[in-house]
C-alpha cells in the first residue's frame, strides 16, 4: 500500500515500535494521508461498506457457529434453538442472513460502478480481477451458508448446485460423489460445507488485502476517469473520505437493520422452515435473489452441459473485460453511446433476475434466452466495437477542472454536474 509515509511517531514507545514493525506508518499512509481524487461520488463509498459487511458477517457468523450443530439430524433443530432459546440468537441469525443479502446489494453496486466508470481499465486490471475472485468466493460462501440450516431450500439448493458438476463429461458423476461424500447430499456434505463456510470468509479477507493493495498502487479511479495529476486534484483520505464513507455506511446500515428487524424473512423462502426431505422437492425451487440472474442463464439453455458452461461463463467473462473494452476513454460519463448500452445491460441484468424467479416455461424461457444473448453480446460485441466507432465527448483537462469547471467548456461543467444523478448503479 503505497503512498508517501510522512508518519512520525511522537512518543518514545511509538518510535521504538515503529522501528521494529512500521505498521502505524502503513496505516497512516494508506488510510490517513492517502491522496484520493476530490471528485469521488457516493458510488465510491461501497468499498468501505463492503469491508464493513465482511467484518459484520464474520463476527455474527463466528458467534452463530458457537450455537450451531453441523449434523444432518440436528442442524435444523439447532437453528430453531438459536431462534428461540439463545439470548439474542434471533437477532444474530437475522443480522447474518440479511447481512448476506446486503453484502450482495453492495457488491452489485460496486461492480456496476466499476463497469460504468471503466474502473477495470489499465492500470487497474489486476485490481479488477482480484475483485472478480472475491465475488466468486462470496458466491461460494453464500451458497454453502444457505445449506447449513438444512431446510428444504437448503437441501434442494445444494442438490441442484452440486449436480451442476455432473454435467462434466466422463468424470462428472465421480466429482459429484466426491463433493457429497456419499451418493446424495447427506451428512458428510453438510459437515464439509460448514467447514468451508467458516474458512472462505477468511480467504475473502486475504484477497481483500490484495485488492486494497492493488488499489493503492494507482489509487482510486474517479467519475471523470482522468488520472490525478497535481495536488489540486486530490484530497487526503482523512477526514474527507473517512467522513464521507462513514456517512454512506450509516445510511446503508439503516436499510440493513430495517430488513433485519422489520422484514427479516422478506428475502428468504418459507420452504426453508421445513426440514430437509430427500423424497420431496419443493414445488417451486429458486436460489437466493442474488443468484437469480445466473440461474436464469442456466435455465435459458436447453442443454445441460451448455447451460452450466453459460452460467459459469457469465461470471468468468468478467475477468477479460479489461481487454474486451477497446475504448480509450475510461468514464462512461463521456461516452454517450456507451451509456445507452450500459443502462440496457443493467436493466437486462435485473430482468434476468426476475426471470430466474419465474417457472421455466412459455414466454419466460423465450425472454430468458433474449436476455442471455444480450448479456453476452454486451461483453463480446458491444464493448469491443463501441471503442472503435464511438466518438466520446471532450474530456476535461484535469480532475480539478471537471469539478470546478474552470478552463473547461460549459458542456464539461454540465456533464460534471449531471454525473451524480445520472449514474445510479
Amino acid at each position: 500500500m503505497s503512498g508517501h509515509s510522512t508518519y512520525e511517531p511522537k512518543s518514545a514507545v511509538g518510535k521504538w515500535f515503529e522501528s521494529r514493525l512500521p505498521i502505524m506508518g502503513l496505516i497512516h499512509s494508506s488510510f490517513v494521508v492517502f491522496p484520493n481524487p476530490r471528485n469521488l461520488n457516493y458510488f465510491w463509498t461501497f468499498g468501505g461498506i463492503l469491508a464493513f459487511m465482511l467484518v459484520a458477517q464474520i463476527i455474527t457468523g463466528v458467534v452463530l457457529a458457537m450455537h450451531y450443530t453441523a449434523h444432518a439430524d440436528m442442524a435444523f433443530n439447532s437453528v430453531e434453538l438459536i431462534m428461540r432459546d439463545v439470548n439474542y440468537g434471533w437477532m444474530l441469525r437475522y443480522l447474518h442472513a440479511n447481512g448476506a443479502s446486503m453484502f450482495f446489494i453492495a457488491v452489485y453496486v460496486h461492480i456496476f460502478r466499476g463497469l460504468y466508470y471503466g474502473s477495470y481499465k489499465a492500470p487497474r486490471e489486476v485490481l479488477w480481477i482480484l475483485g472478480v475472485i472475491i465475488f466468486l468466493l462470496m458466491m461460494a460462501t453464500a451458497f454453502m451458508g444457505y445449506v447449513l440450516p438444512w431446510g428444504q431450500m437448503s437441501f434442494w439448493g445444494a442438490t441442484v448446485i452440486t449436480n451442476l458438476f455432473s454435467a462434466i463429461p466422463g468424470v462428472g458423476e465421480v466429482i459429484v460423489s466426491y463433493l457429497w461424500g456419499g451418493y446424495s447430499v447427506s451428512n458428510p456434505t453438510l459437515n464439509r460445507f460448514f467447514s468451508l463456510h467458516y474458512l472462505l470468509p477468511f480467504m475473502i479477507a486475504g484477497v481483500v488485502v490484495l485488492h486494497i493493495w492493488a488499489l493503492h498502487v494507482p489509487g482510486s479511479n474517479n467519475p471523470s476517469g482522468i488520472e490525478k495529476k497535481t495536488d489540486k486534484d486530490v484530497l487526503p483520505f482523512h477526514p474527507y473520505f473517512t467522513v464521507k464513507d462513514a456517512f454512506a455506511l450509516c445510511c446503508f446500515l439503516m436499510v440493513y437493520v430495517w430488513f433485519a428487524f422489520y422484514i427479516p424473512n422478506f428475502l428468504g423462502h418459507a420452504d426453508n422452515y421445513i426440514e430437509a426431505n430427500a423424497a420431496v422437492t419443493p414445488s417451486h425451487i429458486v436460489p437466493e435473489w442474488y443468484f437469480l440472474p445466473f440461474y436464469a442463464i442456466l435455465r435459458a439453455i436447453p442443454d445441460k452441459l451448455l447451460g452450466v458452461l453459460a452460467m459459469f461463463g457469465s461470471i468468468a467473462i468478467m475477468v477479460v473485460v479489461p481487454w474486451l473494452d477497446t475504448s480509450k476513454v475510461r468514464s462512461g460519463s463521456y461516452r454517450p453511446v456507451f451509456q445507452i448500452f450500459f443502462w440496457l445491460f443493467a436493466i437486462n441484468a435485473v430482468i434476468l433476475g426476475w426471470l430466474g424467479s419465474k417457472p421455466p416455461e412459455g414466454m419466460y424461457v423465450v425472454a430468458s434466452r433474449i436476455c442471455t444473448v444480450y448479456y453476452f453480446a454486451y461483453y463480446i460485441l458491444v464493448l469491443p466495437l463501441l471503442g472503435l466507432f464511438e466518438t466520446p465527448k471532450s474530456l476535461p483537462a484535469s480532475i480539478a477542472d471537471s469539478v470546478l469547471g474552470k478552463g473547461g467548456s460549459g458542456s464539461a461543467m454540465a456533464s460534471g454536474a449531471a454525473s451524480s444523478p445520472s449514474t445510479k448503479g
Binding site: T162, L179, R299, P360
Partner: protein, 178 residues
C-alpha cells in the same frame, strides 16, 4: 546452472541430474501428500457399507401407484403401471428419443407393470412429480424436464433417461435392490 561453467558442453552434468532427480522426487512426494486430502472426500466406508441390498415387497403397491424408497441414500421410484401406461411406453418410437431405449430394456421380462427407476432428475437432481407432464410419467418442478411412463426423457434439459437401479425379482411380488 551448468552453463555458468566455461566448459558448457552438450553433456549433462551431475548438477543437471541432481536438479531433475530432486524435482522429480519432490513432485512424487507432493502428489503422494495431496492424494489423501482428495481421497477423504469420497464416500467413506460406512456410507459404502450402508449400500447393502434392500428387499421390497411389491404386494401393497396398487395399480397406478408410485412408491418412493431409499437405497444408498438415493431415492428410487417403484411404479405399478396401468395397462394404458405400459402401452404408451411400448408404442413410443424409440428412434425419436433423446436417449433411445426400448421400454422392454427398462423392465424385467414378463414384469411390464413394474417400473423401478432412480427418483432424481438426471438434469440437476430434483425429484420429479409423478403422473405429471405431457406424457403422464413425471415432470420435474425445477427445470421442467418431462419423463414418460417408462421414465425416459421426452422434453426439457435432462440429458438422459431416469436410470434403472440394479435389482432382481426374488419372488413374484418382491424385489431386491442392489
Amino acid at each position: 546452472m551448468a552453463t555458468t561453467h566455461a566448459s558448457a558442453s552438450a553433456e549433462p552434468t551431475r548438477r543437471d541430474f541432481l536438479f531433475i532427480a530432486t524435482g522429480a522426487a519432490g513432485a512424487v512426494g507432493l502428489a503422494a501428500t495431496i492424494w489423501p486430502f482428495i481421497s477423504q472426500m469420497a464416500p467413506d466406508a460406512a456410507t459404502i457399507a450402508a449400500g447393502a441390498p434392500v428387499d421390497f415387497d411389491l404386494s401393497p403397491v396398487a395399480e397406478g401407484q408410485i412408491v418412493k424408497l431409499f437405497w444408498r441414500g438415493k431415492l428410487i421410484f417403484v411404479r405399478h403401471r396401468t395397462a394404458a401406461e405400459i402401452k404408451a411406453a411400448q408404442d413410443t418410437d424409440v428412434t425419436s428419443l433423446r436417449d433411445p431405449e426400448a421400454d422392454s430394456a427398462r423392465v424385467k421380462p414378463g414384469k411390464d407393470q413394474w417400473l423401478i427407476v432412480y427418483g432424481n432428475c438426471t438434469h440437476l437432481g430434483c425429484v420429479p412429480l409423478g403422473n405429471e407432464g405431457a406424457f403422464h410419467g413425471w415432470q420435474c418442478p425445477c427445470h421442467g424436464s418431462v419423463f414418460d411412463t417408462s421414465g425416459r426423457i421426452r422434453q426439457g434439459p435432462a440429458p438422459i433417461n431416469l436410470p434403472v437401479p440394479p435389482y432382481a425379482f426374488t419372488s413374484d411380488k418382491a424385489i431386491r435392490i442392489g
